[in-house]
């Protein structure tokens, strides 16, 4: 079943158009990586999918899910790095869409937060301060928060940026694991080699737009240039 349908999207700011006539779909349980040069509009696309920004034209539909039931792992902001909040508080804030006008979190909300901390192996850090954690632990906390907001779809904006190679691998394993459990993944990444290793579909945006399965992408001219380029770089 299709979970997300993007049709004829044109995205950009004011007079500058970044992406023109983009169409793609996301099947239930899919794993889609969005790759492309810096400034190609990856983050703009993600903001549009999240409903934070309106497309210039075109539509994004999510049959079966409410737009607010999407889990989002944003890039870390400057504000968060020295934020005095406990892990528990941060994860629990992922339940804010479940509040639906209520002012305080219920027992179920708190249990959901605890379950997701256990799921990502950070339950022993529950009372630790977010700012004292390592980069990998912080990403797990934010991922647990995103999981509180969704049962179906995660949008990840460069989830491994700034992590060391070992922690990066762990992070990819976690994401793959969540995907195996039935959660659809949409991920922005610079790490093209990992993208083609894990993803089922690739969306390449830039001067040329490409959308297809990972196998098709690898066989295409564009895919070949990019993957070869990255391999040579490594």
């Amino acid at each position: 079943m299709e979970e997300l349908i993007a049709k004829d999207l044109t995205l950009g700011y004011d007079n500058s158009i970044l992406i023109k006539d983009l169409s793609f779909t996301l099947e239930e349980g899919d794993y889609l990586c969005i790759v492309g040069e810096n400034g190609a509009g990856k983050s703009t696309l993600m903001r549009t999918l999240l409903g934070l920004q309106k497309p210039i034209s075109g539509t994004v539909e999510m049959p079966g899910i409410n737009a607010t039931e999407v889990g989002y792992l944003p890039q870390q902001t400057k504000v968060q790095r020295d934020f005095p909040a406990s892990v528990k508080e941060v994860v629990l804030s992922g339940c804010q869409s479940r509040l639906k006008g209520r002012l305080f979190y219920s027992k179920e909300d708190k249990k959901l937060a605890m379950d997701n901390m256990v799921r990502l192996g950070i339950d022993d850090l529950a009372n630790n301060c977010y700012r004292d954690l390592s980069g990998g632990q912080q990403q797990r906390v934010l991922l647990a928060r995103a999981l509180c907001a969704t049962k179906k779809m995660l949008l990840l904006d460069e989830p491994v940026a700034g992590l060391d190679p070992k922690v990066t691998l762990e992070m990819y394993d976690i994401i793959k694991q969540l995907n195996n459990e039935g959660i659809s993944i949409i991920m922005i990444s610079h790490d093209i080699l990992s993208c083609v290793r894990y993803a089922k579909h690739i969306l390449h945006i830039g001067s040329k737009i490409y959308y297809g399965t990972t196998e098709e992408y690898l066989a295409s001219d564009l895919g070949e240039i990019y993957v070869k380029g990255s391999e040579a770089h490594e």
Binding site: L50, G51, L52, N66, A67, T68, V70, Y72, P74, T77, K78, V79, Q80, F83, P84, A85, S86, K88, E89, V90, S93, G94, Q96, S97, L99, L103, F104, Y105, N127, N128, C129, D132, R145, A146, A149
Partner: protein, 281 residues
């Protein structure tokens, strides 16, 4: 020592001192609650900025012959400026700190200019000085001032407690909050109004230049010691109330300016927190 105590007891029995203490505690409480989110959002200087705007408002009110502390002029101007600064948010072209600097310096200059051109008072520099550094107006509060302050404080504290979870969510991650459907715009809007009201109230206590102290010191002190948002918020409220109370009492006993004394006590409190924080690590 007994002398000091009896002097203190004498003062505490006077209604004007009691009023000053009530108002001082309430303003300290309100400003410290919002101070935590302001400091974390990198908007520490909003207190400073808005108080300069309020100063500009005072100048306009004075020039129009409405009396320099006409709330009907000062409050709307300050509220509008607060909304402009806060609603710009993280995605604005002119970032928060620059927006604050621009608006505050502009309002300060304009206010001073107006006061100079339409010189309405014989003691201009005295007027300017007392609005900037706090006058003795906290010692000359009317019953109506006190009641107004109590009402507004109750509103602010209720607002903060009821919306606590949303305030945390927005402070920590505005984009995530927006993405999951939280009404960030409305909440920022309401917060801006509340902040403007607190700042206009606090100006009477410590003067416009020192308003920032009431917002920044409690939050920063609490962040030295505590590790969760809830404990930081609670401690900064306690810290602020204790420091303001002791500041007012001290200023009476040793006959010093109220605003400056409160800030001095805040600074000592901050140093103590820094030391405790360093020892804990």
């Amino acid at each position: 020592m007994n002398d000091t105590l009896s002097v203190l007891a004498l003062y505490l029995s006077k209604p004007f001192v009691q009023k000053a203490l009530i108002v001082g505690v309430l303003i300290a409480l309100c400003s410290s609650l919002l101070g935590v989110t302001l400091v974390l959002k990198r908007l520490s200087f909003i207190g400073d900025g808005l108080s300069h705007v309020a100063f500009g408002g005072m100048a306009i009110a004075a020039v129009l012959g409405l009396g320099s502390i006409n709330m009907y002029v000062i409050l709307p101007i300050t509220v509008i400026s607060a909304i402009v600064i806060l609603s710009a948010g993280q995605n604005a072209r002119i970032k928060g700190d620059a927006a604050i600097a621009m608006i505050s310096v502009g309002a300060l200059a304009l206010g001073y200019l107006l006061m100079n051109i339409f010189n309405t008072s014989s003691n201009l520099s005295g007027d300017v000085c007392s609005t900037l550094f706090g006058s003795t107006s906290i010692m000359t509060l009317s019953n109506w001032n006190v009641i107004l302050c109590i009402i507004l404080s109750v509103v602010v504290v209720t607002f903060f407690i009821l919306l606590y979870n949303y305030i945390f969510a927005i402070t920590f991650d505005e984009n995530f909050a927006k993405a999951v459907g939280t009404k960030v715009k409305i909440l920022n809007f309401v917060t801006a109004i509340v902040i403007a009201v607190i700042i206009v109230l606090a100006m009477n206590l410590v003067g416009s230049l020192l308003v920032s102290a009431l917002i920044i010191f409690p939050a920063l002190s609490a962040m030295r010691i505590y590790n969760s948002f809830k404990s930081v918020t609670i401690f900064s409220a306690v810290f602020s109330v204790v420091c303001t109370l002791s500041g007012i009492i001290l200023s009476i006993l040793i006959n010093t300016p109220v605003g400056a004394t409160i800030v001095a006590v805040d600074m000592v409190g901050f140093l103590i927190c820094v030391i405790i924080g360093a020892l804990r690590r």
